[in-house]
Point group: C2
Chain length 332, copies 2
């Protein structure tokens, strides 16, 4: 089997450009003992990939130059030399950015067919676990809480919103542009939505949408969104700090928030978290997610780009605000 | 009894100036039924007073203009019309900034004579409770933690340092000036001390003093100190956010810290707290503090100004860096 792949050729300075990457085609060897060969169906885009393109030390090592990048993917086993896998099995791996691969069987995990394949890249995958852990554990959501979510129409944000809504909470989402605002109100049925691009003051907009204040803030953005949340937070509010996408492409550090003293006077809890370190909650998460999906309470919010050739476009979509929900590439 | 008192005459803009205050003398009435008359011995200065001089909403209401300010004080009952108090009793109150007062008995609390009177304004008072709650509860100090304390020679900081040391921790303190640095090393016996005024980079200084990183940060300062702590924090470090004195006198918001994304990647917990809301821990705190004091492990770190006339000087001392330990005014 031949497989095309996307390689990182140099470390981006600020926003990645086309010449930072190359496309190559490789021959996949037949699987040796204990190996499987997989054809990828979907891969998912993840803001954390931007971090791995840089050399800076983070919680995962940087991508290697001249090699195919990595990222979550679901695929189908096409050939197996391992007793635990058979052709046709649906598998999850971190070997995205390529049409297929031959790898040791321990690099893939079997997934059941009771959910659509791409769900394992979204609400039933790390994206969903991130939403679940951040909202229910890091922010310790409790009855009566009003919830504010930034990047609410994004991959993680859209799952956070759905979980908070199905649990009966008042939810306010922020996203950029009228189309996303309509999506938050019409599709996700939020109680309030803020188009931050249309608001002269995010703090005033949040005060208007949440006149009773907010008790939980799920932060995907940092910067001015975090500043607005600090300003409008009620006493004892809990913030789950999931990511600060406003800063990933910055070549210089950002200045906001300027009102962190609110954390003292309101006795706030700001809890950073990385879902990868909460895999012990995976079983409870999957059980909840299957039940919510079966009950029609949780849907896949996604934007699909067709073909590996469009993968860089999908990646840009994470940052340029063009996509709704999880950004996926349909590879086959 | 006649009593001089210090009144707030107008709300300071930036650092308070002499004309923001006035001195007045009043006649204290004899105590009516259920009242006591008290002569203050000591009053304590507290950075939170600066907040109450402003109109901004906080966790306590602002001082009223034209009236004596308030703040922690210890005094001696001179006359009592309440069965629970007798002349000579040592009492704690919030009725500082005056030589004496006549007030309902429920405005004062009896204190035992087994500690020096001013201890109830320092390590055995709200200052001590703040250190205790922040270090042991908000930051959840645990064996093996390396502890970083900002404003380490101050009222709260010096108690935090002593508690962390007597529990066997490696403790790094930051303070401004060579005199305070010597105090941290020679008197409080810290493992490392940083004179932030002499360091071009607080982050580099902290990295040098804590090459193994820090696990707990007790923040009295915010701004660049918080930024250094974020940079040098180990994974899962816990920050107790107690106050951000660097910003209390600012007329415009401060920009730092610029590296809050570290809270995500290192899964930090930033916990704001106000000791007033942890009075349920008072009994355990006082039992521990008495035992530590009796064992010679906890001493009163204080700078004493003689006479109510010097109270504004003592208040300035909180911010101009002239004082070591708790800033006290000896009134009688």
């Amino acid at each position: 089997m031949r497989s095309r792949e996307v390689r990182l050729e140099r470390r981006p300075n600020g926003s990645p450009v086309r010449d930072d990457f190359s496309f190559a085609e490789v021959d996949l060897p037949d699987p040796g003992p204990g190996e499987v060969q997989v054809r990828n169906l979907y891969m998912a885009m993840d803001p954390a990939m931007r971090g791995r393109m840089s050399e800076a030390r983070s919680y995962v090592p940087p991508f290697e130059l001249g090699k195919a990048m990595e990222g979550p993917a679901v695929g189908e086993v096409v050939a197996s030399n391992d007793p635990n896998f058979a052709p046709g099995d649906l598998v999850w791996s971190r070997l995205g950015w390529r049409e297929g691969f031959t790898a040791p069987a321990d690099k893939v995990e079997k997934r059941s067919r009771d959910l659509p394949p791409q769900a394992y890249l979204g609400f039933a995958g790390m994206t969903g676990l991130t939403a679940y852990v951040g909202l229910l554990h890091s922010a310790a959501l409790k009855p009566g809480d009003t919830v504010f979510v930034s990047a609410a129409s994004g991959g993680v944000g859209s799952v956070v919103c759905q979980i908070a809504k199905l649990k009966g909470h008042k939810v306010i989402g922020a996203a950029g542009g009228e189309r996303k605002k309509r999506y938050l109100l019409d599709v996700l049925k939020l109680d309030g939505a803020i188009d931050y691009k249309a608001e002269p003051s995010l703090t005033k907009a949040l005060a208007r949408e949440a006149p009773q204040g907010i008790d939980v803030y799920f932060d995907n953005v940092g910067g001015d969104h975090l500043q607005a949340a600090l300003a409008i937070a009620n006493k004892y509010a809990r913030f789950a700090l999931c990511g600060m996408i406003s800063q990933y492409n910055s070549t210089e550090p950002s200045a906001a928030p300027r009102n962190l003293t609110a954390a003292v006077t309101k006795e706030l809890t700001l809890q950073g978290f990385i879902a990868l370190n909460h895999l012990d909650k995976m079983d409870a998460f999957l059980a909840d997610v299957r039940a919510w999906h079966a009950a029609g309470l949780l849907t896949s919010a996604e934007t699909v780009y067709e073909g590996l050739d469009r993968s860089l476009e999908a990646f840009d979509g994470l940052f340029d605000g063009s996509g709704l929900g999880k950004m996926l590439v349909k590879i086959a």
